[in-house]
């Protein structure tokens, strides 16, 4: 309470002193339900509404990556999240990668329901070579005396994650600079470029001209990345929002913590509207954990995860495949569970928010090795492509060149994997080429019916068999990278 008072008071004093115009920013917030770490859409709404109700001009720039994944997005493809953003007072949505999870046309459809404009600067619909219908290359918004231009640049890898070459992406400085000139000539006094880390990695950042603020959408602790050029990273299912004070001379950013806020009643109602009847489904208790379990991001993307093991075992049992291999990036719980915790469907859907389905492919031992190699090819960056497994064990050495990192690959009983063909369960995302996986030469052996079930249902069914389940680490994935002194 004291902290809350302090926040309100300090902001009030700050605003009185500086008379600054304010920009609120966040990204990567697809989760519908409040979390233990303080994350809550309703609390977010409280803060935004309070800021907007003050005398100072406030803009809420949303960095996207939020229409999915969550349990509802699988069913309504993000429509509920547009309603939530409407209620949240979003002024502009930078259309990011996950907005495209259900394709370009779905973004167009949702744009009509939004009470805010959507922006995406460097992506064209390959069918028309025009910007995505309903989405604008830039948006000019008044903020006090400023005219704020918002641009959005996604990484070219969207073609491997969600759009599978259906989009044309300009990943060049020249393209951005051209649009900056355009907005400047249209009267923009301040230019915000919302973008991704991957985009900034692949273009020379210092050559970007005329941009005042670069907001990196990232699931991280919000922080200043650099001051010149001015880069700030913000996003994630946490209790943080970024508040930028814009003055004529420049801008300063601070991090707001929302954990202690009161949830906004209207927002709660909106969420209710979507979830009120779902307790009968989501509240279903599945099993009790007889030991602690974690679904932390770092673990899922670089090492054996006790939760990952359960998910993989469930998939392997469902498909009767020799092995199951699913990317760690499809698991999104990022939390610790204590022993005795009772898992519900809500937990499972939170952990596996993409829904997703499984396919069984028949591949050779060589291809299996190649797939595992791909899994660890970007392990240093904790890329989502890292594979959790069942039915086999592998060791990797990240100090070795890409393509030579798997140093051992055995059956789960430590038997040698013979030459020959094996059935492997993978996700629809991987089969379609997501995260640059290539199964175009593999034979799909699973039938259509069995490939219709969502992974969270498969895992829920698996867990329901047991009164108790023991999460274990059993040496499925061993990191043998030498630790340098």
């Amino acid at each position: 309470m004291i902290k809350k008072l302090f926040v309100v008071l300090s902001m009030y004093m700050f605003s009185m002193m500086a008379h600054a115009d304010k920009i609120i920013f966040t990204s990567n917030v697809p989760e519908l339900f409040a979390q233990e770490n303080g994350y809550s859409l309703a609390k977010m709404a409280t803060v935004v509404k309070r800021l907007k109700s003050s005398n100072e001009p406030v803009l809420f720039v949303h960095g996207g990556d939020s229409l999915s994944p969550n349990p509802l997005s699988v069913y309504d493809k993000g429509a509920h999240m547009i309603s939530i953003m409407n209620e949240l007072g979003v002024d502009v949505l930078a259309v990011n990668q996950r907005e495209f999870k259900d394709g370009i046309d779905q973004v167009t459809l949702l744009s009509t329901q939004a009470q805010f404009p959507m922006v995406l600067t460097n992506l064209l619909d390959r069918r028309s070579m025009q910007p995505v219908e309903g989405v604008q290359p830039y948006v000019l918004l008044p903020l006090g005396e400023h005219s704020i231009a918002v641009l959005m640049a996604v990484s070219e890898n969207i073609n491997t994650t969600f759009l599978f070459n259906k989009a044309f992406v300009y990943e060049t400085v020249e393209h951005i600079n051209r649009w900056v000139q355009q907005v400047r000539s249209s009267g923009a006094t301040k230019v915000i470029l919302v973008t991704e880390r991957d985009f900034l990695k692949s273009v020379p950042v210092h050559s970007i001209e005329g941009v005042d603020m670069m907001m990196v959408t990232q699931d991280v602790e919000d922080h200043q990345v650099s001051s010149s050029p001015w880069i700030f990273a913000s996003g994630g299912v946490d209790d943080e929002m970024t508040l930028i004070d814009v003055t004529k001379d420049g801008q300063t950013a601070s991090v707001l913590h929302i954990a202690e806020e009161e949830p906004d009643a209207a927002m709660t109602q909106v969420i209710e509207r979507y979830t009120s009847q779902l307790d009968v489904v989501l509240g279903q208790q599945l099993t009790r954990l007889s030991g602690p379990m974690d679904s932390q991001r770092d673990t899922l993307r670089s090492a054996e995860s006790s939760w990952g093991n359960i998910v993989m075992d469930a998939i392997r049992q469902y498909t009767h495949a020799d092995f199951s291999l699913i990317i760690g990036g499809s698991i999104r719980g990022y939390r610790d569970y204590e022993a005795g915790y009772v898992l519900t469907r809500r937990d499972i859907q939170r952990e596996l928010p993409f829904g997703g389905t499984v396919y069984v492919v028949r591949i050779t031992k060589a291809k299996l090795k190649q797939v595992l190699e791909h899994g660890v090819s970007q392990v240093e960056g904790l890329d989502g492509r890292f594979l959790q497994v069942s039915g086999l064990h592998y060791k990797y050495d990240a100090s070795r060149p890409v393509g030579q990192r798997i140093v051992e690959m055995l059956h789960s009983n430590n038997r040698e994997i013979d030459e020959g063909e094996y059935t492997v369960a993978i996700s629809d995302y991987m089969l379609e080429g997501g995260d640059d996986y290539d199964f175009s030469d593999a034979t799909v052996v699973s039938d259509k019916v069995s490939s219709q079930r969502l992974i969270w249902n498969i895992v829920s069914d698996y867990l329901e068999q047991y009164d108790e389940i023991q999460p274990v680490i059993e040496g499925r994935i061993v990191n043998v990278t030498p630790i340098l002194p």
């Binding site: 429509a79 009470q115 509207r273 009847q277």
Partner: protein, 653 residues
């Protein structure tokens, strides 16, 4: 009988083979039993599938169909613009939910999953109802909003026309434009921007022209105004979207649940089918095992039969065919306790008897040998052409020869031996004539066991006296026989002899050049009639004696018929024949036997002569020619000779 008894019991072949066959029969029964058992098991499993599992799948199938229809109806409800249509759809939703519940109730027994599924299904109807309600609210708001917008635009336009102030006119113009844009702009944020502008414009209007503001204010800003309705529309809209999403999740869960239950049931059915298949496999395995055992038993039976029956039968064949002697060891091999053994035992007894008899025969033959050797029998023992033994008298018979083999005998003797069958002897006619001794020997041939060899014995018996007696007898017989060829009255050969002669002549192809002289007593009938048969016979005797007297020794005089007499002259020419005929005719007449009926006064004969001129002429032909000549002679006056010459009747002489 003793042997038969020994073969009974467990060791009996009959018993053992019967036992093996019985065992195989039992195995077959077992196989059939197992087959029936498994068939019944399969039948019940298949029955269960068809009567329980498959109908369950059918119900689930129809449930899936209900769920799909329900999902479609929910979408239609959220898109419906007519309240009546919404009501129709809702009644269909209820119908589908009821059907679905009914289907699930059929399956709910003891199935926790389905009970939970029913809970979820229970939520669907209220959910769809809520959608329908929200949708109708949205529709009402939409309708009201359109009416208000239209009124507001009408009022604004009227005010615009009335207003004189330029600034006021501009505000009213902007309001008109914004109201029009409210309808056309697709994006909500644009509408928001417009509404924000409208609020500002209204504020300006309020300050500058209250008169125009007043009629517009309730249409735009009041609780039932355009702005309020716009936000209400948005609320209802998002309500519909939210409820639709929820409903979709519920239905999605139901679909997944149904799918899962269906898959479980399907897996169940598949499992049952697998169990059936496994049962069948077990069945096949057991059957194979039993068959294998059967085969093994059959093989064992074969081996047993081979060892105890076929091998022994073969050995028995050997025993009987070659050995001719059965030892105690052999008997032991055949195992006296079974049928074969007893048979062998019997055989042993027989063979022993036979060998005893053989020994007896051998001693007898030895005795015979000594008898032969010590007797004066003319005997030789021959074995495969080699002469094993010669008795002294036999040796004496051929002492001028060195006799070692049968080929050293004189040829005719060899032939004689060869012609005789074993156990036979030559007839007296074919008896062997020994020139040196001037004696006849009868030859006999017999089997003899000589020094262990199967030889044959040739023995000779002097039958000279019998042969001579035989010859004597034959001589006597010849006389008798020749008499039978003579005519009793005349002493000439009779006609039969002539015919025999004719027959023998026919066979010889050698050219003989013979002559036939045919005589006939002239007017013999009249003579007989006048002087009686006895006188006739006397006359015939007289004529015959003349003929006989004149017939040379090489010729043959024959009484051919009653008074017809014939002379056959072999190797004769016509002159010789003619001469003889002439002599006979003349001599008969010169006897001067009175004949009362003859023009010649005395008894006379006529004669036809014919001589064979070429080899092709048969006796018959020649005879016939002679006959024709005789006829000619008679015609020519009798007591004369007519000769056949060059194919014609010759002149009578």
């Amino acid at each position: 009988m003793e042997v038969e008894q020994k073969a009974s019991g467990l060791k009996s072949l009959r018993f053992r083979i019967a036992a093996a066959v019985l065992f195989m029969l039992l195995l077959m029964l077992l196989t059939s039993g197992i087959s029936f058992f498994y068939f019944f098991k399969l039948k019940s499993a298949v029955n269960q599938q068809s009567q329980q599992a498959l109908p369950e799948l059918q119900v689930l199938n129809s449930a899936q169909l209900n769920i799909t229809r329900l999902a479609n109806l929910a979408i239609e409800v959220s898109n419906s613009t007519s309240p009546a249509y919404s009501r129709i759809l809702m009644s269909q939703v209820r119908e589908q939910v009821d059907e679905l519940k009914h289907s699930l109730e059929l399956l709910a027994e003891n199935n926790a999953q389905i009970k939970r599924l029913m809970d979820v299904v229970g939520k669907v109807e209220p959910s769809v109802t809520n959608i329908s309600l929200s949708k109708s609210m949205l529709d009402q708001v939409d309708k009201a909003l359109n009416e208000r917008l239209f009124s507001a635009m009408t009022v604004t336009l009227a005010s615009f026309n009335q207003a004189n102030d330029k600034e006021v006119k501009q505000i009213l113009g902007e309001i008109t434009s914004d109201l029009a844009q409210l309808i056309t702009r697709p994006h909500l944020y644009e509408q928001n921007q417009i509404t924000a502008r409208l609020v500002k414009q209204m504020q300006q209007l309020q300050q500058q022209a209250l008169i125009h503001y007043k009629p517009l204010e309730p249409l735009l800003l009041s609780p039932r105004g355009v702005l309020e309705l716009l936000s209400k529309r948005e609320i209802h809209n998002s309500e519909v979207v939210g409820l639709t999403t929820q409903n979709r999740i519920l239905l999605g869960n139901i679909v997944d649940f149904g799918h899962r239950v269906y898959m479980d049931n399907e897996a169940n059915v598949a499992q049952q089918a697998q169990a059936i298949s496994k049962n069948s496999n077990d069945f096949i395995n057991v059957l194979m095992l039993v068959l294998l055992v059967q085969l093994m038993v059959a093989a064992a039976l074969m081996v047993y039969l081979h060892k105890h029956l076929f091998r022994r039968l073969y050995a028995l064949k050997g025993l009987v065919g070659q050995r001719k002697k059965i030892t105690a060891h052999d008997v032991a091999f055949f195992d006296e306790r079974n049928e074969l053994g007893s048979l062998v035992k019997q055989l042993q007894t027989y063979l022993e008897t036979i060998s005893k008899q053989q020994a007896q025969i051998e001693s007898t033959s030895l005795q015979l040998q000594s008898v032969i050797k010590h007797s004066h029998m003319m005997a030789a023992v021959i074995y495969q052409d080699e002469i094993l033994y010669l008795s002294e008298p036999f040796y004496q018979l051929f002492k001028d020869r060195e006799l070692k083999s049968i080929h050293d005998f004189p040829d005719d003797f060899q032939r004689r031996i060869a012609s005789i069958q074993i156990g036979d002897l030559t007839t007296l006619e074919s008896a062997y004539w020994d020139v040196h001794r001037q004696s006849w020997f009868q030859v006999s041939k017999d089997n003899i066991l000589w020094e262990g060899k199967k030889a044959y014995l040739i023995s000779l018996t002097d039958v000279s006296s019998q042969v001579r007696a035989e010859q004597e007898f034959r001589k006597t017989l010849s006389v008798v026989e020749s008499e039978s060829k003579l005519d009793a009255l005349t002493g000439l050969y009779n006609r039969k002899l002539f015919e025999d002669q004719v027959a023998s002549l026919k066979q010889t192809t050698e050219f003989m050049s013979f002559a036939v002289l045919l005589f006939d007593v002239d007017f013999f009938k009249q003579y007989n009639d006048k002087l009686g048969h006895l006188q006739g016979d006397q006359v015939l005797k007289m004529v015959a004696s003349v003929i006989k007297r004149n017939t040379p020794s090489k010729g043959m005089a024959i009484r051919y018929g009653g008074e017809e007499l014939l002379v056959f002259l072999p190797k004769a020419n016509s002159s010789e024949a003619l001469e003889i005929a002439q002599d006979i005719v003349e001599e008969v007449y010169q006897q001067h036997v009175p004949h009362p009926s003859s023009p010649h006064q005395y008894l006379s004969v006529s004669c036809g002569v014919s001589v064979q001129e070429s080899s092709s002429d048969s006796l018959l032909k020649v005879f016939d020619q002679a006959d024709k000549c005789l006829y000619q002679a008679k015609k020519s006056g009798r007591n004369r000779v007519t000769l056949w010459q060059d194919g014609n009747l010759g002149d009578s002489l």
